[in-house]
C-alpha cells in the first residue's frame, strides 16, 4: 500500500494532498459542523472541518453531551481506527517530516504514552466542564497545532500579541513538541495528543486493520525498525494478531511494505531479499533487541 514513488511513499503524497485539500479557502463553511478526527485547529480560517477536541471543550463548558461530535469520531474510529493519524493528520505529517532530520534519536519510557489519556480527561472534559469553555486551562489554549496554524500567522500579520502566560505556555509547548519530533518519531501522537487518546482504544476493535504481510515471519524485525510509533509489529504477527491491534499504531502500513517475505499473490519481494534462498535461517543483524522465541 505504501510503495515508494520516486523516493517518497504513497502515504507522503496522501498526507500532502490532505494538508493542501483540507486547508484551503474554498472549503464550504457548512462542513465546520462536522468533526474530522485529526489535530487541525478549526480556528484557522483555511480549515474545513471542526476539531473534535475544540468541540468537546466547548460542549463540556456548555454542559451539553456532544452526541453528534462524539458519534462522528466514534463512527470513524470504529471503521478506521487511527488511520487518520497516519494518513490525514497535518500535525502527524509535520512530525514525520521533522523526524527525517538527521540527528541523534532517543527512546522514551513506555509509561509516557499514558499521559495523553490524562490530557484528554483533564484538558478536554473535566477542567472545561468545571471552569467553563473559555478557561485558560483547556487543551485548546496550549494546543501546538493552534499555535502553528493560528497564533504564528497572527503574530506575523500583527493581530496576535505575545503577551500573557497562556501565550508563552503555548509557544513553549510548540517548541518542545517540535524539538522532540526531531528526536523521537511521532512524540506528540504517542504522549500528548488527546485525539490519539480518543482513537487509541478504537484501534483494538476497528474494522480496518493492517494485515500481516506474511504468514511465514522470519523475525527479521524490519517492520519493528520501520514502525514510526515503535509498536513492535513482529510480536503480534507471530501471535497471528493484526499488527495494528495496539493503541499507538497509526496504521501507516509501513510494516507491510518493508516485509521481505510477503505472501500475497502478485506482490513483489523486496529486491534486497530476492537473492535469499528459501528456508535460509533468518538474520537478526541490525535488529532492535534480542530475537523473539518462536
Amino acid at each position: 500500500m505504501t510503495e515508494t514513488v520516486t523516493g517518497f511513499s504513497k502515504r507522503f503524497f496522501v498526507q500532502l494532498g490532505s494538508l493542501l485539500a483540507l486547508h484551503s479557502n474554498w472549503g464550504p463553511e457548512v462542513l465546520k459542523g462536522f468533526c474530522n478526527p485529526v489535530l487541525s485547529c478549526h480556528s484557522c480560517p483555511l480549515s474545513w472541518f471542526a476539531c473534535p477536541i475544540g468541540v468537546f471543550i466547548h460542549f463540556s463548558g456548555y454542559h451539553v453531551f456532544p452526541f453528534f461530535a462524539l458519534g462522528t469520531v466514534l463512527l470513524l474510529g470504529t471503521l478506521f481506527g487511527r488511520l487518520f493519524c497516519g494518513w490525514v493528520c497535518p500535525f502527524g505529517f509535520l512530525q514525520d517530516l521533522l523526524y527525517k532530520i538527521p540527528s541523534k534519536k532517543i527512546e522514551i519510557p513506555h509509561w509516557t504514552t499514558n499521559i495523553k489519556y490524562l490530557v484528554l480527561l483533564l484538558g478536554v472534559f473535566l477542567l472545561p466542564y468545571y471552569l467553563g469553555e473559555m478557561t485558560p486551562f483547556s487543551f485548546c489554549r496550549i494546543c501546538p497545532a493552534a499555535a502553528l496554524q493560528v497564533t504564528a500567522p497572527g503574530l506575523i500579520q500583527g493581530w496576535a500579541h505575545p503577551e500573557g502566560a497562556v501565550f508563552w505556555a503555548k509557544a513553549a509547548l510548540l517548541l518542545f513538541v517540535l524539538m522532540f519530533a526531531v528526536l523521537h518519531s511521532r512524540f506528540f501522537c504517542k504522549v500528548i495528543c488527546p485525539i490519539g487518546a480518543l482513537l487509541a482504544p478504537l484501534n483494538m476493535l476497528s474494522l480496518w486493520v493492517v494485515k500481516p504481510a506474511t504468514s511465514h515471519c522470519v523475525i527479521c524485525r524490519k517492520c519493528c525498525q520501520t514502525c514510526p510509533t515503535d509498536v513492535k509489529p513482529t510480536e503480534r504477527i507471530l501471535k497471528g494478531i493484526p499488527p495494528s491491534r495496539t493503541p499507538d499504531c497509526v496504521l501507516c502500513h509501513e510494516c507491510q511494505t518493508v516485509c521481505p517475505v510477503p505472501d500475497k499473490p502478485g506482490k513483489k519481494k523486496n529486491p534486497i531479499e530476492k537473492r535469499k534462498r528459501p528456508g535460509k535461517a533468518p538474520s537478526h543483524e541490525g535488529a532492535k533487541g534480542p530475537p523473539l522465541a518462536t
Binding site: S43, V64, F68
Partner: protein, 88 residues
C-alpha cells in the same frame, strides 16, 4: 491493508451501533439558545432553537457561550457572516 477478520468483529459492531445511535440522537436534537439582542436585558429573553450541528459549528468560533447555565448566542444569526476565528 484490509478489513478485520469476521471473528474480530463483535466488539466492532457494538461500538459501531453506539456511534450510529449517537449520530442519530445528535442529528435530531435541538438546543435552546438566548438570542443576541440589543438594548435592555429582560427576565424572559427571546430564545431561538438551533440544531446540534449548528451548535458544533458555533463551537468552532465561540458563537455560543454558557452564561450562568444558559446558552447565549454571541452573534446575530439573521445577518450573513463570513468565516470567524475562535477567540480561545
Amino acid at each position: 491493508m484490509g478489513w478485520a477478520p469476521r471473528r474480530d468483529r463483535s466488539y466492532f459492531w457494538t461500538a459501531f451501533l453506539a456511534a450510529l445511535v449517537f449520530l442519530v440522537i445528535g442529528l435530531f436534537r435541538t438546543h435552546q439558545v438566548v438570542k443576541k439582542t440589543r438594548g435592555r436585558r429582560s427576565l424572559h429573553p427571546p430564545m431561538e432553537t438551533i440544531t446540534e450541528i449548528q451548535l458544533v459549528e458555533d463551537a468552532t468560533f465561540a458563537g455560543v457561550r454558557n452564561l450562568h447555565g444558559r446558552l447565549v448566542s454571541t452573534y446575530d444569526r439573521s445577518k450573513p457572516r463570513g468565516k470567524r476565528l475562535c477567540p480561545t
